[in-house]
């Protein structure tokens, strides 16, 4: 029973500062909190409060000054760059505000991209990618290039790319920040389904209340401090 309640992410006393020329700018102060497996967490806060920085640390694309981040059984702050890269490839799915698809690759090729670092064969990669694309309702746009798709469609391709490796956690940084209302709702519903139906743990950064309303747990960052209050949305 204890195994089941053990959080998937444990963050302890996390500090982060940036070096700007000779100036040290502290951004995160003593962040400590847990994220349960299967959670859909919205990390909120005003612009510049350190949301992206915190998400990047959890996702292993940036380094903390001190503190620890356990994801599963691994303290990712102790990993080398190479280990960290391999860990990311295995364990994290990424969704960004600006989709970040490779413009010269077709939708299906973009989704296949992370699978090139796995042992899958070419055929298996294609099958996995097609499956992921149909899950986001884009099976018919497989061979389209990002430039030929709307923002909402591109973000759906990005979601397919994020889930195709079946990662431990999904991180999303302002996933609806660049989208119109309708597309945004679509993307949020999709993320909701990923969490509810497939049990994906999602950590989403947003300052849009409408997006936050879809999450189950809300946490607030303010000027680098995590607010103790934990919001909870009704299911």
């Amino acid at each position: 029973m204890t195994e089941q309640t053990k959080p998937i992410v444990e963050i302890r006393n996390l500090y982060k500062s940036y070096q700007r020329e000779s100036l040290v700018v502290p951004v995160l102060f003593d962040i400590t909190f847990d994220i349960a497996a299967g959670e859909f967490l919205a990390l909120m806060g005003p612009s510049g409060s350190g949301k992206t920085t915190l998400l990047n640390l959890i996702a292993g694309i940036d380094r903390a000054d001190s503190g620890s981040i356990h994801v599963g059984d691994i303290d990712i702050t102790t990993l080398t760059e190479t280990e960290l890269a391999a860990w990311r490839a295995n364990s994290v799915g990424f969704i960004f505000q600006f989709y970040n698809l490779i413009p010269v690759l077709q939708a299906v090729e973009n989704v296949e991209l992370p699978l090139h670092l796995t042992v899958l064969t070419k055929k298996q990669r294609r099958e996995h990618a097609q499956m992921a694309l149909s899950m986001v309702g884009l099976a018919h746009r497989m061979d389209h290039y990002p430039g030929e798709m709307s923002g909402g469609e591109q973000q759906r391709v990005a979601i397919a790319r994020a889930i195709v490796t079946d990662p431990t956690i999904l991180v999303a940084d302002e996933p609806t920040g660049d989208l119109d209302r309708v597309s945004a709702e679509e993307i949020l519903s999709m993320m909701e389904r990923l969490n509810r139906d497939m049990g994906k743990t999602i950590i989403m950064v947003t300052h849009d209340p409408r997006a936050a309303a879809r999450a189950r747990i809300l946490r607030h960052l303010d000027k680098g401090y995590l607010n103790d209050a934990v919001g909870q949305n009704p299911l």
């Binding site: 992206t52 190479t82 990424f94 600006f98 970040n100 490779i102 010269v104 690759l105 090729e109 660049d178």
Partner: protein, 385 residues
């Protein structure tokens, strides 16, 4: 495979920029190739020189002749196999701009010294039997549409008057490196005429052409030849044919050096252009590289993407430029055969093209690749939007 796909598509993603860069590289490589060919055509005579041929001339200057009696004495020297001789005639065909080299030579020995001049046996016999006979290179004959049996009149500059010759033979080169624009006639024809007009200038040779038994004894043989004429009225200077031909180039050396420098400057300029293109495209792709790193791709992959893209550009441009060099050189050769009888794109030029392509790609990719590898992912991602 995936990386190859990405880098190829990246290279041609911005069509206008890629085309302009490739065009620039192609033009630079073409210019580079033509200039290198001009340089090697300068040295074609030197390259074609045989290591077992010596040239003996008057030690004071090439413009002073030597007594023909020297031939017999040279023949006695150890190591000497064949002795021939000749004079620079310097005749003009109709107009001064129709320049081509014309000599009188002792024909039997001369052609035996130059096996690279391939002459039909029948034509050779006709030439030897005709005192006024002439043998010319295939290119020269083609240029002035001369046929066997034609009478050709050269206006003498050193030897005044109009000189008529009958074309008896057309030689061709054993290979492409042989000059096919020369004009030869019989030394005796000139000598007999000179005897009548100015006897003091008769029985003289402008140069002796000597064949030695083996290339490795050429230097020693040259020293022995000069030794016998030491302290005589006309001292000699004997050197290998290569050194002799190089001597003629001494004056042109400065020009050759200048051309050489220009050819490298062209490559330097295009290196800067390619570097600029790569700097622009990689800057635009900062986010792409960041996302690939995010997904777990390593420094090696990013480096490969950037170097690969640069190589695709420079190799494409170089391939086009190098391919164009051949037809361009043919046109050049046809137009300027008077100045550059041998105008061939050498293998070395193609290797240099390849080296230039690699250099361009390397110098253009190194800094962007370092930057893309070093930039922190978070910073790379922030650049988007």
């Amino acid at each position: 495979m995936l990386l190859a796909k990405i880098l190829f598509r990246n290279a041609f993603h911005n069509k206008l920029r890629s085309s302009l860069t490739i065009l620039g590289i192609a033009v630079a490589i073409l210019a580079f190739g033509l200039l290198r060919t001009v340089i090697s055509s300068f040295y074609a005579g030197v390259e074609a020189a045989s290591a077992s041929r010596l040239v003996t001339r008057n030690a004071i200057s090439i413009i002073f002749p030597l007594p023909i009696s020297y031939a017999g004495k040279i023949h006695q020297v150890e190591g000497v196999k064949t002795v021939s001789w000749g004079n620079w005639f310097g005749g003009i065909y109709i107009d001064e701009k129709n320049f081509f080299p014309n000599f009188c030579v002792e024909p039997v020995t001369y052609f035996s010294l130059y096996p690279e001049f391939v002459l039909d046996e029948k034509q050779k016999k006709d030439f030897l039997l005709d005192r006024k006979g002439a043998v010319v290179g295939r290119k020269l004959a083609a240029k002035y549409k001369w046929k066997i049996g034609d009478t050709i009149t050269l206006k003498g500059t050193i030897y005044p008057g109009n000189w008529d010759f009958v074309l008896r033979g057309i030689y061709r080169g054993r290979d492409q490196t042989v000059d096919e624009t020369q004009f030869f006639f019989q030394w005796t024809y000139l000598n007999e005429a000179v005897k009548k007009i100015a006897p003091v200038f008769a029985d003289k040779a402008g140069f002796f052409m000597i064949g030695v038994n083996r290339p490795d004894i050429a230097a020693d043989t040259a020293v022995r030849i000069d030794a016998i004429f030491k302290n005589s009225l006309a001292e000699t200077l004997t050197e290998t044919e290569k050194a002799f031909n190089l001597g003629f180039l001494a004056m042109a050396e400065a020009i050759v050096t200048a051309i050489q420098m220009v050819s490298f400057v062209i490559i330097l300029i295009i290196m800067a252009v390619v570097a600029n293109t790569m700097a622009m495209t990689t800057r635009e792709r900062t986010g792409d590289y960041a996302i690939m790193k995010t997904l777990g791709f390593g420094a090696k992959d990013i480096t490969l993407l950037i170097f690969g893209e640069a190589l695709v550009l420079t190799m494409t441009g170089t391939f086009i430029g190098a391919s164009l060099t051949f037809p361009a050189a043919r046109i050049f050769a046809a137009e300027l055969s008077t100045y550059f009888p041998i105008f061939l794109v050498s293998r070395t030029t193609l290797y240099l093209d390849l080296v230039a392509a690699l250099l361009m790609a390397f110098s253009a990719a190194i800094i962007p690749a370092r930057h893309a590898v070093r930039i922190r992912i978070a910073d790379g991602l922030r650049r988007i939007g």
